[in-house]
Symmetry: C2
Subunit: 282 residues, 2 copies
């Protein structure tokens, strides 16, 4: 069991990770590093962390440092943390993009103490209040470039994720970013765009949302997600996201063409193909 772990960024992911670590008896105490005193106070009040400290003091007291902040600030913070750790401490991140980070830290003398991870769990909510018990369970966690980390660090990180109920998947950073664009990032873009489509119409029609049912709620749910988290993800992974977005627009155009031509046969074919998703999503 860890005496102290540091959580840099105590929001949805960091807060839920802190809870899981204590719930599973993996860590005794969680020290939070937060951007503001207000979020430190809320994280303390919610019992996510036991103490709030500045980065250096927190790292000095911890065997494990978990970085769970927006991906645009992850690189600098990771470099700062690597600068001040010793050869026993372990650093890992939870970011939704991996290639830029792995490249940026590649030549750091402490690279081997870092493990690049992406636990594939989340909700549309953010901040300390969004943290929940039992997060991560049954979901996939990607570990990237494990060969670039010390094996003791990898083993420790693997044990932690397994104990909190995750299934480990190994990938290089580039492949991770492509996959994430397909199974996570594009879902967010379509949901944001769908919300804008319908909100645009609402300007003319007050009553439109009286009718909104479960299907609409389900496809538009992710549009509630926090831009502070997602803009940096889309920007860092923009080439992959653009590829998938272009493919998605071209798939939508096929539906459009089938409707314009009143081609029910083609429309049926497109939908029957989409039904194959049953194989994957139970």
């Amino acid at each position: 069991m860890f005496e102290n772990i540091t959580i840099v960024g105590v929001g949805l992911i960091g807060g839920s990770f802190a809870l899981a670590m204590k719930d599973k008896g993996i860590a005794k105490k969680a020290i939070g590093v937060t951007r503001s005193e207000s979020s430190a106070k809320r994280a303390l009040d919610l019992g996510l962390i036991d103490e709030a400290l500045p980065l250096k003091e927190a790292v000095a007291k911890s065997d494990l440092i978990y970085i769970s902040i927006p991906v645009d600030t992850t690189i600098d913070t990771t470099l700062q943390v690597l600068d001040i750790i010793n050869d026993k401490q372990i650093v890992l991140d939870a970011g939704s993009t991996k290639d830029a980070l792995c490249k940026a830290i590649a030549d750091h003398p402490k690279r081997k103490r870092f493990v690049a991870t992406h636990p594939m769990w989340g909700t549309e909510y953010s901040g300390p209040e969004a943290a929940v018990h039992g997060a991560f369970e049954g979901r996939a966690c990607v570990i990237c470039e494990k060969e670039k980390s010390d094996s003791d660090a990898v083993t420790t990180v693997e044990d932690i994720y397994k104990k909190i109920g995750m299934n480990l998947v190994y990938m290089d950073a580039k492949a991770h970013d492509v996959h994430a664009a397909y199974v996570s990032h594009i879902s967010h873009i379509t949901s944001f765009a769908l919300a804008n489509t319908v909100l645009e119409k609402e300007r003319e029609e007050d009553a439109i949302f009286e009718l909104a049912g479960g299907g609409f709620a389900s496809t538009v749910r992710l549009a509630k997600s926090n831009p502070a988290m997602w803009v940096p993800i889309f920007m860092q992974n923009r080439e992959n996201v653009l590829d998938v977005l272009n493919e998605h627009i071209s798939q939508l155009r096929k539906f459009k063409a089938s409707l314009e031509k009143e081609n029910a046969e083609y429309l049926t074919e497109l939908m029957e193909n989409a039904n194959k998703i049953k194989r994957i999503i139970k």
Copy 2:
């Protein structure tokens, strides 16, 4: 309480309606009219209906006839039923499009015994096995052109939907179809297209779905829906669906432009606008 009601089409909607009618003590017996002997047998085995009969025999024994079949066959079936009912029987449908149907029956001598309704509830599953207890509760039910139905028929139908827990919304048929395109039909198209986007990629990458999490499942869930139900809806409501689809593609293009230009500010603006959906979807 009704002694007998007829359910034409005992699938997701018709089966769930039969259950609700019996659960709430509104009907004693449900007679099913089905396309095939196999679905009649399954509906009987599942306890959705108490008897299966051909259309004419079923209608002759029933005070209320509920038509819940794909919208392309609803028009003919409704006309057939109106041809054989008396001045006391009540007919209603549950279709996702209303304009074509209302137009087609406008001049029928029994038009006033018909109430056009759309209970806005559903799941991605279909057939008798998809029917559930407690469906419809807390959802909106649209009643169209109530002034064209006899007031006793409207009152009876209103009472039924209220008793099964629905909130009534009144609209003309054209307005209904526009609204349905925005809050239901487009969600299905985006979900089908998203499934096709990702399935296309899967041809190259076996592992892609190992990473699929809750966000992906939520946005792609509707892609499991039955083309036999949805193709006729899209075809009947094609002009409205095309309008919304064009708007949706243009919203997606804004995301594309912001990424291509690496314009984080514009991207943030698009996402903050989408966040306004929080007001509507709790």
